[in-house]
Symmetry: C2
Subunit: 249 residues, 2 copies
Amino acid sequence: MSQTVDRALSILPLLAQGPADLGQVADRLGVHKSTALRLLRTLHEHGLVHRQQDQRYRLGARLFALAQEAVENLDIREIAHPHLAALNEQTGHTVHLAVYEESEVLYIDKVESRYPVRMYSRIGKPVAITVAAVAKLLLADLPEPERRAVAAKLDYPMYTPRSTPNAAAFLTELATVREQGWATDLGGHEESINCVGAPVRGADGRVVAAMSVSAPNVVVTAEELLTLLPLVRRTADAISRDYSGKDPA
Amino acid sequence: MSQTVDRALSILPLLAQGPADLGQVADRLGVHKSTALRLLRTLHEHGLVHRQQDQRYRLGARLFALAQEAVENLDIREIAHPHLAALNEQTGHTVHLAVYEESEVLYIDKVESRYPVRMYSRIGKPVAITVAAVAKLLLADLPEPERRAVAAKLDYPMYTPRSTPNAAAFLTELATVREQGWATDLGGHEESINCVGAPVRGADGRVVAAMSVSAPNVVVTAEELLTLLPLVRRTADAISRDYSGKDPA
DNA sequence: AACGGGTGTTGCGTATGTTGCAACACCGCA
DNA sequence: TGCGGTGTTGCAACATACGCAACACCCGTT
């Protein structure tokens, strides 16, 4: 592992917390000012860091451009998108696509509801991992030891009374999801919002992504939303087939 | 400038184009495989790079998290947000906030329209710089030489027949915007969408951000949208006042 | 089974690049 | 004018990142 690069990259999370001047960066890195300066300059050349009028440094625009390109070039996303759009067309509800990576789950695509009430989420934003249907689907497929390890490390915020309270409950829930091949979130993140989701599988049968349909209580009840389950599963299976060239059954 | 860091960071745009394996990365960097491996490992440790099942590398999730935090910690954004929300409340239309940085303009906040027809844009996405109202406002405030330099370097895609066709036309438009203190985009990006925007100024009078209201033809005509101009300008001035503590007049 | 081409990985000596220092330049303030 | 606080530069000493070469591994082939 390269020391220089390691130090340079450590600057990024540091600046993510807010702008800082040269001295602060040097201190928090534990290096001499001149060293910090050279690292910052290099980061600056690549646009990852920006210098504002008051001389302080903050994260730069290239970071957004990179994140943007990264998400747009994911092949699952490209393959899945038309299916998601079709599902949105049929149901009118918000449709999400998410992937798991390094203990995080994040949305990589979203087709918005036709109804005026929409849920708050953003592409690239980490998902509420302990409650979201897509998160359950992705974690349920991890090998058992990793699943336990991740579950143990997580926080279990009580967004609502129906949120998953702790690791034990979460693991039980994951076992159920793994068994049945689909997942729900019934008011576990926001009181009035329900979701139904299904997994997308690669050629080897492993879950590579998960999709869900979300709708608020005021539009459809949880029971009504659950009637969409077969449709959601068919869509997920269709994506799996397109992605892997194999039938997921 | 640090060579090691420079090389490591050069990997990111390379991977933004799509996944690549070790050999490809080494080749395109012009270094030995072992060197590339060490750099990739360091990037991996920081989560900027992810290794997929087929061993190839692609950009990692931490990138999104960083971009996310960065945009959320911008102080202009925090100060402006309530004003944007209020404007959305009054008009019902989509409201955007954007900043300029290193030859790019990007959205840093957005409050969505109440109407079902919405325009396509995303926080963190670079703006169509030659036509968007917010882009004109931000570029119009640059010192003249820089403005000319940027205008000369840009592409001028003809999204619609009303798009800005070339640098000369763009500079003329910028002069007008600079003069009048507000800007529009009437169908220059998407045929059916119009925008009106106004600048947010810092204590020194320089433009630090720009905001706009957008609406499709089917909801309000361009003329009707223009009647909102005084309201938009008042909102922008209110943000300027909050941000700088000074009256922008 | 043995082979070959294609990967990714490791250990190591060398020289290159990085480090921290000390001195300087700059700015605002008293 | 002097003084703390910045950010910046040049340089010599050293640590570190470099590329090499050899190895390990996984395929499909003969």
